[in-house]
Amino acid sequence: MQKHDHSGHSALIRLEGVTKLFDNTEVLKNISLSIFEGDLVSIIGPSGCGKSTLLRCINALEIIDGGSVTVADIVLDRREGTNVSYSQIEKRAHRLRQSVGMVFQTFNLFPHKTVLENVMLAPVVVQGMEKDIAREIALRQLDKVGLKNLADRRTDQLSGGQIQRGAIARALAMSPNVMLYDEPTSALDPELVGEVLSVMRELNAEGMTQIIVTHEMQFAKDASDYIVFMDKGEIVEILAEEFMVEHPKDERTQRFLKRIMSVGREDINNG
C-alpha cells in the first residue's frame, strides 16, 4: 500500500454521522469518514451493505437524511437543528455534483453521441465552455485514458473497457475534486478489467483523489491507501496497513475477506 502524509491537511471529503433512509429502512447508519486529497480509497463489503449508497451520497445523487457531507468547500448539512431548506440543499447538491466525477457500473456513455461529444457535453452545457476549448480538453482527457484514436466512434462500436475509460474521461473533463467509481469493472469481461484499473492507477499517481466501490481485492490491496469495509450500513473496519488486510480484527471482515480471497471474483458478483 502507498502512504500519504496527511499531517497539516484538512480532509477534502468529510462525512459526519451520515444516515440515509430508503422507505424508513436505514441503509446508512451514522457513518463518519474523512478522505484526504490524493487518497485512493476502496470500499468493500457484501452486496446490500450500503457501499454504493455511500458513494451516491458523497456526490449527492442521493440526499442524506441526517449528518453532513462536505466536499471541498461545499457542505450539505442535514444535522438536527440546522435550518437549511430542502431547495437550498438541492441547489448545493447541484453545485457539488459539478465538482465530483462519477463512473457507474452500467455503461452509460450517451449512445446518441460520439466519444468526443460525450466528453465535451458537460463542459459546454454545464460550465458554458467554448466548444473549441472543450474539444481540446476532451481530447487531452481521451489521450490520458488511451481513447484519442477512437474519439469519433459511437458507443456501440466500443468494448466495455473502452466505454468505461470513456466515462472516466467524461468525468475528468469537468475537472473534479474527486472521482467516484461504483463497481466500474463488475460488468466487464475479465480481460478488459486491467485497462480500466491501470487508468485509475495513473490518476492516483497524478494525485487525483479517488474512491472506488469494488470487488477487485487485489487492486484494492495494491493500489489503495486504505480499504473501508462496510456491512449492514456501517463501517466495520478501516484497513490501512498491509498486515491488517491479512489479519483484520473484526470477525465479519475476516469472513468476507476469506471468502473473497478463496473464491473468484465472479462468485462474489453472483452471490
Binding site: T106, P111, V125, V126, R170, A171
Partner: protein
C-alpha cells in the same frame, strides 16, 4: 431541435396570411353559397366543373351589376351558410334561402327575388302517393335544415329522413329506402328528368319565398339589395334569367304582375339536362376524370398543407404535454387534456372550434380552425408517443447526466430527448398518415380539401363511384412516401437493437 420546431411554426404562421382572403376591395360583394346545393341554385357546371353556375349565381351577379359591384363566390357548406354571415366569411347568402320567421331571427332578408313551392317526388312505379296526405305513415325524405323539413315536422304523421344532398335522397328513393322525397320545386324540375325512374306528383305545397340574406342589422346592404331586386324585376332582367333556367312560374307572374307568355328559350335548363342525360363511354368517362386532375391537385395540396401544419402543431404541443406529464407537478393538467381530447370525436372538436368559438368572440377562418382542431387533437396522441419514448430511455442515462452536474432541463434537452426522438419517429410518421386521412373532416368546415372536392364533383355528375375511387387513390398515393419513411425508420431501429444485443460486453446499454 425544439427551437427549430418552434421557429418553423412561427415562420409558418407568418406566411399564413397568404392562405386567407384578407384583401377585400369596396366594390366586391362576397356571396356565400354551397356549390353542392345542386342545380339550379349553385352548382359546378357539368361541362366545366371548375366553373360555378346556377340561377342564384346569375341573379347575384345581376344584382351586383346594378349596385356597381362585382360578386365573388365563397364556398360554404349549406348548413353553415347562415352562421358564416355572422363570422363575416362573406357579405350575403344567396342559395335558395327561404324567408322564414326562424331565419329572420338570425339574419335580415332583402325583399323576395323568387317565389316557389314544395313538390313531391316518388319512384315511377308509385301509384299510392298523389298528395302530402297520402304520405302519412310513410317514410319521407327531405334536405337537412330545409324549409320542407320544418314544414313536414309540423305536418306530422310522417317518418322524416333528412339528407345532406338531394342526390342521396333520390338514390334512396330508387333503392326503396324512402317512399317520397319532398323538395323545393326548382330542384325537382331539374333532377327528376335526369334521374331515370322518378316522377313529380302532387300539387303546390307551401309557398316559399327566396330572399338574399345579410348579417343581422346590415340594413343599408339589405335595402340596397331590395332596391336592386326591384330594378331587375321591372327591367325584365330577372324574368330573362328565370326563363333561361326554366323557372318562370305563376307565382312570379303574380309577384311582378307580368303575365306575358315566355319569350326566352330555357337554354341553361336544356344544357344541364343534356349534360346529365348523355350516356358516356368509358373512354369519355376516363377523359372526364382526367379533367378533374387539376382540381384534385389543388384540393390535394390543401389536404397536404393542412396535414403538415396540423402535425407540426401536434408535435410541438405533444412534446410540451409529455414533458408536463412526466417532469412537472402539473401532471394532472396534461392527463386531463389528453383524456378529454382522446375521449371526444374529432368532428365535434372541429365544429366546436369553427362554429362554436365565435359565440365567445373567437373567430377563426376555416384554414386556421382546421389546423388548430386537427393539431390540438393529434397533440394528445403525440404526447403519448413522446411519453413512451422518454420513458424508454434508461434511468442510468438520466443519472449519468445528473452526476455530470446537469440540471433536469439540461439532461432532458441534451441526453434524454435526443435519444427518445429516434424511437418516436415511426409512430409519429404512422400518425401523420392517419392525420392525412382524418383531415378529410375539415371538409365540414367549408375547406375545399380532397373530400370536399369529391363531394362537389360527385354531386355534379351524380357519380359517387368512379370519382370516389379516384379520390381514394389520390389519398393512397399521397400517403405512400410516409408509409415508406415509417417502414424504413422502424427497420433501422430494429437493426440497431439487434446489433447492440449481439455485441459482448454491451449488454447493459438499453
Amino acid at each position: 431541435m425544439v427551437k427549430k420546431l418552434i421557429l418553423t411554426i412561427v415562420l409558418v404562421l407568418c406566411t399564413y396570411p397568404t392562405f386567407a382572403q384578407h384583401v377585400r376591395p369596396e366594390n366586391i360583394i362576397r356571396f356565400g353559397a354551397d356549390a353542392r346545393s345542386g342545380a339550379p341554385y349553385c352548382f359546378a357546371d357539368p361541362h366545366d366543373p371548375s366553373k360555378i353556375k346556377g340561377f342564384d349565381v346569375d341573379i347575384i351577379h345581376a344584382l351586383a351589376k346594378v349596385m356597381n359591384k362585382r360578386a365573388l363566390f365563397v364556398q360554404n357548406s349549406y348548413e353553415g351558410l347562415i352562421s358564416g354571415l355572422g363570422r363575416n366569411n362573406y357579405d350575403v347568402v344567396i342559395d335558395g334561402i327561404v324567408i322564414t320567421p326562424e331565419h329572420l331571427a338570425e339574419v335580415d332578408f332583402s325583399s323576395p327575388y323568387y317565389v316557389t313551392h314544395q313538390t313531391i317526388v316518388v319512384p315511377d312505379n308509385n301509384t299510392s302517393i298523389h298528395s302530402l296526405e297520402d304520405c302519412r305513415g310513410k317514410k319521407v325524405g327531405t334536405l337537412t335544415g330545409s324549409e320542407a323539413f320544418m314544414f313536414l315536422e309540423k305536418f306530422g304523421g310522417l317518418t322524416i329522413l333528412s339528407y345532406e344532398q338531394e342526390v342521396s335522397g333520390y338514390q334512396d328513393l330508387l333503392n326503396g329506402r324512402i317512399d317520397a322525397f319532398i323538395i323545393d320545386a326548382p330542384v325537382a324540375i331539374y333532377y327528376v328528368p335526369t334521374v331515370k325512374g322518378l316522377k313529380i306528383v302532387g300539387g303546390e305545397i307551401d309557398r316559399l319565398m327566396y330572399g338574399v340574406a345579410v348579417k343581422k342589422g346590415s340594413l343599408v346592404l339589405r335595402d340596397e339589395l331590395s332596391a336592386a331586386i326591384e330594378k331587375i324585376k321591372h327591367n325584365g332582367e330577372l324574368r330573362k334569367i328565370l326563363e333561361k333556367w326554366k323557372l318562370w312560374n305563376n307565382n312570379m307572374a303574380e309577384l311582378t304582375e307580368d303575365y306575358a307568355p315566355s319569350e326566352n328559350e330555357p337554354t341553361e335548363y336544356n344544357s344541364f339536362v343534356e349534360a346529365m342525360n348523355r350516356s358516356i363511354s368509358w373512354q369519355e368517362r376516363f377523359d372526364r376524370y382526367l379533367t378533374f386532375l387539376p382540381m384534385f391537385g389543388r384540393a390535394a395540396w390543401t389536404t397536404i398543407v393542412i396535414s403538415i401544419f396540423s402535425m407540426m402543431l401536434a408535435m410541438a404541443m405533444g412534446l410540451i404535454l409529455a414533458i408536463i406529464r412526466i417532469y412537472t407537478p402539473f401532471k394532472f393538467l396534461a392527463v386531463a387534456y389528453i383524456e378529454i381530447v382522446r375521449g371526444t370525436p374529432l368532428l365535434v372538436q372541429l365544429l366546436l372550434i369553427f362554429y362554436g368559438l365565435p359565440n365567445i368572440g373567437i373567430k377563426l377562418d376555416p384554414f386556421m380552425a382546421g389546423v388548430i382542431g386537427l393539431g390540438l387533437n393529434y397533440a394528445a396522441f403525440e404526447a403519448e408517443n413522446y411519453r413512451a419514448g422518454l420513458l424508454s430511455v434508461p434511468r442510468a442515462q438520466y443519472e449519468a447526466a445528473k452526476a455530470l452536474g446537469m440540471t433536469r432541463w439540461q439532461s432532458l434537452r441534451y441526453v434524454i430527448l435526443p435519444q427518445s426522438i429516434r424511437l418516436v419517429i415511426p409512430p409519429i410518421t404512422n400518425d401523420f398518415i392517419s392525420l392525412l386521412k382524418d383531415s378529410s373532416l375539415v371538409s365540414m368546415i367549408t375547406i375545399i380539401d380532397l373530400t370536399q372536392q369529391y363531394n362537389l364533383l360527385a354531386t355534379t355528375y351524380y357519380d359517387y363511384f368512379g370519382i370516389g375511387i379516384q379520390v381514394a387513390l389520390i389519398y393512397f398515393i399521397i400517403g405512400i412516401p410516409f408509409v415508406i419513411v415509417s417502414r424504413w425508420t422502424e427497420k433501422r431501429i430494429r437493426q440497431d437493437g439487434r446489433l447492440r444485443r449481439k455485441r459482448p460486453g454491451l449488454k447493459l446499454i438499453r
